[in-house]
């Protein structure tokens, strides 16, 4: 199973614009990569069906950890046809995960900077944010993971970006999940 080292940051519009300007100047612009993502937030895992709208592709991903539970994510992923996204979402819903589902459209532009893939994004839940990522091969050692984390931290420091701590990430995602649950409960009460 491949391992992703992922770290995140949220910022306002002006910080977003400054980061994009810097990455265009000093990084490699990998282009627009907008995605409609169907998340199934499971107790200790994250299942995603991703419609890569900019590239016309799609994939299913299972991450063995949730945001806020460490930067290393074991990841199982395989491509599906874009037209099969609705069926995949229906299938996971029918398997009992519908209550754990929410979807998000991500406006996303990818860059590479100092060996780190940086996705600069906007979504309704996160606002403007960025994901810093290094992908490691199957069975990567703890030393390799630590080295990847340092590479990300150095790149973020060079860009003047403050990465969120695991505690901040856990608090943010917990607040979002609670809000989603309250919204669904209110909707259900209204319909009754």
């Amino acid at each position: 199973m491949a391992v992703e080292i992922e770290m995140r940051t949220r910022f306002d519009k002006s910080a977003h614009d400054a980061l994009v300007e810097r990455l265009v100047r000093d990084g490699e612009d990998l282009g627009q990569d907008n995605k409609l993502i169907h998340f199934f937030v499971l107790p200790d895992q994250l299942l995603k069906v991703t419609d890569n709208q900019s590239t016309g592709t799609a994939k299913i991903t299972l991450k063995d950890s949730k945001i806020g539970q460490g930067a290393a994510f074991g990841e199982t992923e395989f491509p599906i046809a874009q037209e099969d996204v609705p069926a995949a979402v229906r299938l996971f819903g029918a398997l009992g995960f519908e209550g754990a589902r929410h979807e998000a459209f991500n406006f996303r532009r990818n860059f590479r900077f100092q060996g780190v893939e940086i996705a600069v994004k906007w979504s309704e839940a996160w606002g403007y944010h960025a994901e810093f990522e290094v992908l490691l091969p199957d069975g990567a050692s703890d030393a390799a993971k630590a080295e990847a984390t340092a590479t990300i931290t150095d790149a973020a420091a060079e860009l003047g970006v403050a990465l969120m701590s695991e505690e901040e990430l856990a608090a943010f995602t917990a607040a979002f999940e609670a809000e989603e649950a309250a919204r669904k409960a209110a909707q259900s009460a209204e319909i009754r």
Binding site: K13, Q53, W122, Y128
Partner: protein, 253 residues
Amino acid sequence: MSTTQTDSLVELAARKELPNHQFTDSATVEWIKANRPDFTPGWPQPLRDTTKALIEQAAIPTRWLAEPRLADSIHGHRHGLRTAVLAALLADLHRLDESDTATTVIAAAVHDCQRQHDKDDPGHGSRAAVWLGANADLVWTHFHLRPTPTDVIKAATAVRLHEVPYEKFTADDRADHARSAQICDIVKAADALDRYRLPKLSWWPNSRYVREPAFDQLLPLAYDLVVTSEEAFLSGASSTAAVRFAVAEKGLV
């Protein structure tokens, strides 16, 4: 009339063949971009925090619509949310108090919710006003507020009158308008500011039809909100996400 749309809205409008249900398309958005007016630079004051909170709640559920097929049409969620944002900006510009600002934003958010189609649909304002009166608790709760009878009457009046041109006001309309003139005028102006989405230049915003001194000042922002959110929608975002993205891109929240 068929609701299947094969030609662009611009082409259909030119031939006077717009269908009952009208959905934007790439050619129409490119036409809107190619016809960007030569604006005088203008920028609104930052929104108050309480007004930003209203905007966060201003996307209404599709189940409130009389005709769910309009959710993504030219009178659907994107129009409703942009109108609410523009109404919020005008309310802050006029320093309305928090209660009247909320009433204004709520009226703007639901003003077209009882439409049956995207043509004139006479009476849709009256139907939405009646609906709002019957569902006031539901609507104000959605905005994390409690309605007073006065709030509901003011909002329902603005919703009812939004489709009635000033020159066609009856004596009853004038009496109703006089009781909440500022809110009515703002909702009508906000609705008119969002006309850059329409596929004919003669239908675009015109200050002749509104009573809002700041109307021209908001035109560039109204135009940019249309272009950014319509492009975002066509790239795959939901109507609500598309407008929220546009609002973020303009630094309003």
